[in-house]
């Protein structure tokens, strides 16, 4: 072998060996699309525009057949009050079903109400909450009977005919979004109004909000105006450290909001 041929062959072999196997694989666009469906629901909440009217909670309870009087709700609104003497008060009386019609803070069942001097209020705001429809939900992992699951379009649902009501998922949810339904005796949770969004309608809460504090979008569609807000503006999620990848994004989060 001539020296020239030896060098030439060496180059060819090295070049050939450096091509990874995956580069030669034929990519079927259909397969790629199937692996990444073009629909994935996400929620955007603007805490700046929420005034705590509670119309969303009422609409949710009406639409989804959640008992009005029972102290359970798929969605709720929290009030955060920071006083000038550096105390923080958080409450959500009746899940804000009737809004916040008193300045008094509901401390809980046995603690009664707390009057706060208006002069002492530093800042205050309202935060709507609902199921975050996490990308890797803790609640569906712990279900022992396969009754709760994530759909391909990213919504976590509960199969009422399979749920045995053990409550593992209620405990596993870091956000307290699940509760025990007093009528059906199974676990219930926000479904992003699955019966509405799959028909092209808005969820009941988005629909009822007069201030546009709640919005929904398809996060896989980058032309969606709400997706653009999530992509381009400063949004946060609750309890990121739990690693569940929540799909409800918040504008104007404070560290006290968890």
């Amino acid at each position: 072998m001539k020296r020239r041929d030896f060098l030439k062959n060496t180059m060819v072999v090295i070049a050939g060996a450096s091509v990874p196997l995956s580069a030669l694989e034929f990519i079927d666009p259909k397969e790629v699309l199937a692996a990444n469906p073009q629909l994935h629901w996400a929620f955007l909440i603007n805490t700046y525009t929420c005034v705590g009217c509670g119309f969303c909670v009422k609409a949710c309870k009406t639409e989804n057949d959640v008992p009005f009087d029972a102290n359970v709700s798929r969605t709720w609104v929290e009030r955060y009050v920071y006083t000038k003497d550096d105390r923080r008060y958080i409450d959500s009386p009746k899940a804000a079903l009737y809004g916040f019609t008193e300045a008094k803070i509901d401390l809980g069942e046995h603690l009664g109400f707390k009057d706060i001097d208006p002069e002492n209020v530093g800042k205050a705001f309202f935060v709507p909450k609902l199921c975050n429809q996490c990308e890797t939900p803790a609640c569906t992992q712990v279900c022992p009977v396969g009754a709760t699951y994530k759909t391909d379009d990213g919504v976590v649902l509960v199969d009422r005919s399979w749920c045995i009501g053990c409550g593992y998922c209620v405990m596993a949810c870091p956000f307290g979004a699940r509760y025990f339904h007093p009528v059906y005796n199974v676990v219930d949770k926000c479904t992003f109004c699955y019966h509405r969004i799959t028909k092209g309608l808005e969820t009941a809460c988005v629909n009822a909000c007069p201030f546009g504090a709640r919005k929904m979008c398809n996060i896989r569609d980058i032309n969606d105006p709400i997706t653009q807000i999530i992509l381009n503006e400063r949004v946060g999620v609750l309890k990121d450290e739990f690693g569940t990848n929540p799909q409800a994004f918040y504008i104007g989060l404070a560290s006290e909001v968890r």
């Binding site: 119309f55 989804n64 705001f125 992992q141 699951y149 199969d159 019966h195 009822a208």
Partner: protein, 162 residues
Amino acid sequence: MKSHVWRPLYVVIGIVAAILLFREFYVPDNFGSGEYGFMYSFHNKDNEEVWKNQPLMYRDTGKQKMHEYCAECHGDVVDVRTEDLHGIIPCENCHGPALDHPNDPELLVIIRDRDQCLRCHTLLPYTTSERKRIPGIDPTEHNVDEACVDCHDPHNPRLEDM
């Protein structure tokens, strides 16, 4: 290796095979997992349809569309509402869910309670909240026993037009 090592292994393999076989027959056919795999989405596929077919209540979608639908019959009322004030409130928030109205429900139940107005118009001392832009009253002092609608027009709440 001697057979006394292998024998328990055959037993274990046999048990695993038996469980897999039992599972094959016992798990209903409509069970499966989707994009999120066995860990997050092993479920009865038929249940997705159950949730999709829940009954609808509210009309939707978006305030503008709803107002357009309502205006077909109630145009005079819809015209009155002021876009910057109560025009932002969807009709159904006070008039109730109206999916198949006027067929079912034939008549809507209008909520005229003070509580309905107080959701937004209770005076709360929160100067940093959006709430500060909304005129508020103290419900224990402001015309206590009267209904709000006796004086205020909910469709056009402008005080000058009263």
